[in-house]
Every structure is written in C-alpha cells, then in structure tokens.
C-alpha cells in the first residue's frame, strides 16, 4: 500500500485510540490555557450581576444523565454564582429519568459548600409529567403544578416559597437543557409569560439558539464545556469545565491533524493519478 493510501484510509481504531489518549492524558497531566470570554456568556453573567442580592431565580435542570459531563460543569458554575450573590434558587426538572436526582445532588453539594439551607435558600420541586402543561401552569401558579417539593414537603411550609408562586415572582430563569425543552422555556416562559431567560446547553445545541439571542428572546447562552469554562473564569472559580477544556483542546487538535493528513493523502493520490 502506498503512503498516500495509508493517509487516506487509516483504520478507524487508530483514530479512536488517539482520541481516547487525548481525553485521558490531560486528566493526569492537566493542561490549561487562558480562556477568552464570549459575548453570549458574558451576557448571562451580567444579567445575574445586575440582580440585587437576595433575588430569587429559577434554575430548571432539563438534562439527562448522558450529557452530564458536558452540562454539569456549567450548571455548577451558574449555581455557584447564584449562591455567591446570595440568590434563592427554585429548581425543577422535566426529565423524569434522573433529572430530579441530578438537581438534588448539584444543589445539595453546592449548597453545603456555601452554607445554604434547603427550603430557605434553595428548593428542588422535582419532576411532573407533561412539560407543556407544567411550563404553562407555572405561569399562573407553581403550587397548582407542584403542591409539594421533590421529597413531598408542602410548598407552603418552605420559607423560600412564601413569596414565590409564578414566573413573575422570580427575577431570572437560567434553563439548563440538553434537549428541545429549552425552546419551550423560551417560547412559553419567556415569550408568553415575559420571564428573562438565559440558557445553558450542550455545544451542539448552542448554534440553534443564536436565533433567539438575535431576537432578544434569550439573554445569553453558555454552550457546552467552553461556556462553562468561560463562566468559571468570570466568577473566578476555575474547576471542572476549565479542566475539561484541556482535553477538549487536545481532541480538537487531533481531529484537525487527521483531517489534514487525510487531505494530504487525498491530494497526493489525485496528483499521482493525474500524472499516470
């Protein structure tokens, strides 16, 4: 086999091996690069900063366990920022399989780290079936949809819920999502009920949301690991996402290297054929 043929037809297992090494090695030998903050990430940060201390915000966790490596870092960064500003957080999830557990875990761990108390500083409303009915219903009364929190405690007995019963009572919604529910948060909660919405989504979803950003229906977007890393930089707490960017950088470079090699082989073989 000629060298050009080798370059154009690498066994895909070699590619997989190099990708695996690019992900694993930065975990043992961390590499970090200075992160530049994009406008769409800064807008979310600015929106949160503009709220007075003690404001109440809503953070829905519309994420499946499958995308956690990408979405959890940005979720944690947003929750940390909220707790740093002493915001109260009302959370829920329209993902029945795993959503409430993820919400519970992230809020408890970050809440404990900041000395926040469940029911006073944050609440997990849990899951209710039929997200369209849930999102629409909460516009008139959260209690009509969630009479109790995730563990069955009546909302009326929770201090945080004394002043909250509809979207009008929360000052900002930061929707974390890995699926189409984000568009319902924008079109129902944002457009219909007038809530200010920011989005934290997977990197592959972010381009689709630029339309809403342009139209002013979204305040800002945190897109995937990079969005999370940028946010960690803004709140000056580089953690999971910043570390993950080392692996992401290396993987991107490996993919580019393979594309370049493939093209060198392709162009060379085309020239060889033309010469023959």
């Amino acid at each position: 086999m000629s060298w050009t043929a080798h370059l154009t037809s690498f066994d895909r297992r070699w590619i997989y091996l190099l990708i695996a090494l690019s992900v694993i090695l930065p975990m043992f030998f961390p590499v970090s690069f200075p992160e530049r903050v994009t406008e769409q990430t800064r807008s979310v940060y600015d929106a949160m900063e503009a709220l007075p201390e003690g404001s109440t915000i809503m953070i829905p966790f519309e994420i499946w366990p499958s995308t956690l490596p990408e979405t959890e870092p940005l979720a944690r960064a947003a929750v940390r920022h909220a707790f740093m500003r002493n915001f109260k957080i009302v959370s829920l999830s329209n993902i029945g399989a795993g959503g409430p557990s993820i919400t519970e875990r992230v809020l408890r761990e970050e809440g404990d780290a900041f000395g926040k108390i469940y029911g006073v500083d944050y609440v997990n409303l849990g899951f209710k079936a039929n997200y369209l009915a849930v999102l629409t219903g909460m516009g008139t009364s959260i209690r009509s949809i969630y009479p109790t929190d995730h563990s069955g405690t009546p909302l009326d007995s929770l201090p945080i819920m004394q002043t909250v019963d509809r979207y009008d009572d929360v000052q900002f919604v930061f929707a974390i999502s890995d699926n189409a529910t984000i568009e319902y948060w924008i079109s129902i909660v944002g457009a219909r009920f007038g809530a200010k919405i920011g989005a934290g989504v997977t990197a592959v979803m972010a381009p689709k949301l630029f339309a809403y950003l342009d139209a002013g229906q979204l305040v800002g977007i945190l897109g995937g690991m990079k969005g999370g890393a940028e946010y960690e930089k803004l709140i000056n707490r580089p953690e999971w996402a910043t570390r993950g960017m080392g692996a992401q950088s290396l993987v991107h470079l490996v993919i580019i290297a393979f594309i370049v090699l493939g093209n060198i082989g392709f162009i060379a073989s085309r020239r060889n054929k033309a010469a023959e």
């Binding site: 366990p65 039929n130 219903g137 995730h150 381009p207 339309a211 991107h252 470079l253």
Partner: protein
C-alpha cells in the same frame, strides 16, 4: 387498531381544539387544553405496555430458540424485572433502590454512549472532510476554523480566530439554519393539517 371514522373524528376535534386554544386566553379553553395535554401523558404511560410486550416477545423467542447471544436476553429480562420490582415496591425517589440502580448502572451507561460521539465524530470528520470540490473545501476550511476558534489554542495561534468563529456561527450558520427551520416548519404545518383533516392516516396503517 380501530380504523373507522371515530379515530379520525377524535383526531379532528382534538387538533382543532388545540388550534383554537392557541388563539384564546379564555380560562375555560386553557383548562380544557391543559386536560388534553394531561390525557396525552396518561395515554403515553399506558402505551409503554406495548413496548414491554414487544421486547418481551422478541426476547422470549430468542431464549426459546437459543439464538446467538441469548444469554444477553436473559440478562435483559432479569434487570427489567429488578427495575420493575424496585420501582413498584418503594417508588423511584432519591435514595430508593430504583434510584440507586438508575444512578449507578443506567446513568454511566448512558454517559458512555454519549461520550462515544467524540470517537465517532473524529472518524466521520476524517473520512468526510476531503477537498474534493470547491464546496467541500469551503466546508473543510470552515470546520477547521470553528474547531480552532472553540479552543484556547486557536486564540493563541491568532487572536481573531474566536471572533471569526463567532461570526461563522452567528451569521452564515444561523442564516442556513433559519432557512432549514422555515422550510421544515412549513412541512410540519402541512402534515399537521393533513392529520387534522383526516387526509393523512399513516398512524392507522393507511398511507
């Protein structure tokens, strides 16, 4: 499946009512449309039985005939029974056996499948991004710019790369996506209209 005029009439009335509810803020109409949506959830819940029966049938025949890989069908049945028993016996809330099984078995498996995308996109990109034509070359160059622009190394190579990447995502990419979305939305609207009017009966087995 029932194929007479009744399902067509139900589809027509439900469809028209949901259209009406979009144009109304009347509380009674909103309440009824909310009920319609709740019925969807309830009906969906019952249809899961269809899936359970289908998978049970396929697996049972595999085990009976000792087809290749039949022990995996046994594993599937054991775990499905385990999830069912744990879910029905003490619920699915945080701290239950069901939640433990979900968090420690299913969630890592789902995450693993999602992470496979990194490997698959690498091999697909290597194979697909070849400078065969002018358009393919443009696609190739754009992909490399965006990949570099999304990582800090790109910024180190050229400080303008992140801005160029953002422009590609926000302008040409967005324009193309909007075009696709508009066309697809019209297609979806025409399909919905055919369903409401009973012209489209694919779901009843009639093309």
């Amino acid at each position: 499946m029932m194929r007479g005029p009744i399902p067509v009439a139900v589809a027509f009335l439900a469809g028209i009512f949901m259209v009406i509810s979009f144009f109304s803020t009347n509380p009674a109409i909103e309440r009824v449309s909310g009920d319609f949506l709740n019925w969807v959830s309830i009906v969906s819940g019952f249809t899961i039985l269809l899936g359970v029966v289908s998978i049970a049938h396929a697996n049972w025949s595999k085990i009976q005939r000792r087809k290749e890989g039949w022990p995996y069908a046994v594993v599937l049945r054991v775990f499905r029974a385990g999830m069912l028993v744990s879910g029905f016996s003490e619920g699915v809330e945080t701290g239950t056996v069901y939640d433990w099984l979900f968090t420690n078995l299913q969630a890592p498996m789902m995450t693993t499948m999602f992470s496979m995308l990194a490997f698959f996109i690498a091999s697909a990109a290597y194979r697909a991004f070849r400078a065969r034509t002018l358009q393919a070359t443009l696609l190739l160059v754009t992909a490399i710019i965006v990949m570099l622009g999304r990582i800090p190394v790109g910024q180190a190579i050229n400080s303008n790369l992140p801005d160029v990447t953002n422009w590609i995502m926000a302008v040409p990419n967005m324009a193309a996506q909007r075009g696709i979305i508009i066309g697809a939305a019209l297609g979806a609207a025409a399909t919905a209209l055919r369903i409401i009017l009973g012209l489209e009966r694919t779901y009843m087995g009639r093309g």
